[in-house]
Symmetry: D2
Subunit: 104 residues, 4 copies
């Protein structure tokens, strides 16, 4: 079974050819990199505010919004999703001491 995050990314990529008047994702992609980056920034700020002063539920909701817009940014940049997961695997593989040396 496919992971939810891989499935959502596929849906986003599929929307590249959708009608911007019907699909919000297509509209975002049509708006260009600066517009999408602006949305990522807005959702990051909302996530931060909810983390610092909101509830767990609102943090989950804003985090999902942030992930969604971040993936639209990846689709806009033609990023291969596997390259992100490979990068996360490198972080998982680090021992505590390497982790510190790499600040991760």
């Amino acid at each position: 079974m496919r992971h939810a995050i891989d499935k959502l990314f596929s849906n986003i990529v599929d929307r590249k050819n959708a009608d911007p008047s019907v699909s919000y994702t297509a509209k975002l992609l049509d708006g260009g990199t600066n517009v999408i980056a602006q949305k990522v920034g807005e959702e990051a700020v909302e996530t931060i505010i909810e983390a610092v002063s909101g509830s767990q539920d609102s943090l989950i909701h804003e985090s999902a919004d942030l992930l969604y817009h971040l993936m639209v940014l990846w689709a806009d940049a033609d990023i291969n999703l596997q390259s992100i997961w490979d990068e996360l695997d490198r972080r998982s593989g680090r021992s505590g001491i390497q982790e510190k040396a790499n600040r991760l």
Copy 2:
């Protein structure tokens, strides 16, 4: 096989009991919500700047940093990872028209 993002989150949660002087993740978790939220904001800004004026490689790298710190924020808030994936599934399930009505 476990997904890279689930594996990294498990590693982050495991570090909750690690020594902050050895593990960067433990140090972040020890610093508290505001410190972690600040880092999420910094990585979001770096991601935005790379998207707008950088290379695909640097966007991948900064995106992975953002995801990692976002997951530390989730670990700090005791979020069940499945609740994030359920939220993403709801977004995947929306048709184009529902998508527009929900602004997603």
Copy 3:
């Protein structure tokens, strides 16, 4: 003659008692700290994007938007404007070496 930034702050403070259905400033103040902070974040992101990839004119425009919303945040927190200027004066007074020691 009063400085433009002091004059705008006075106008913002005056709007605390204005009708939120007529005054955008009153509506913001009525929305509360989290809403205003969110707007400061959005304008900061726009300023960053214009600085990195836009024109001088758009940077001026977004910077003014950021200043305006930052001042609404100060009004919301009942900050005495002079305390901000005193803080800037402390930064001006630092010599190069003190500047470095203070990271400013």
Copy 4:
């Protein structure tokens, strides 16, 4: 007497020719637009976090840090400070109804 904010901006512009190993401002300017924009983003995030969950004193301190780094961004872009104040004057001049129409 000169306003604190005009004085600080003059000091920042003067540092354009200073030694980056002695002056933090010169070092920032030497680092280039993306580095300065990144700092503006970091200080904006700190300001937001303090507004939402901190004290008035820490909000004043972070706001001054944000203003300082924003002015370094203006110096980097060779912005004439008066053009910012003219923009603020335009916002001050708007009546409540114009304000709403202009979303300011």
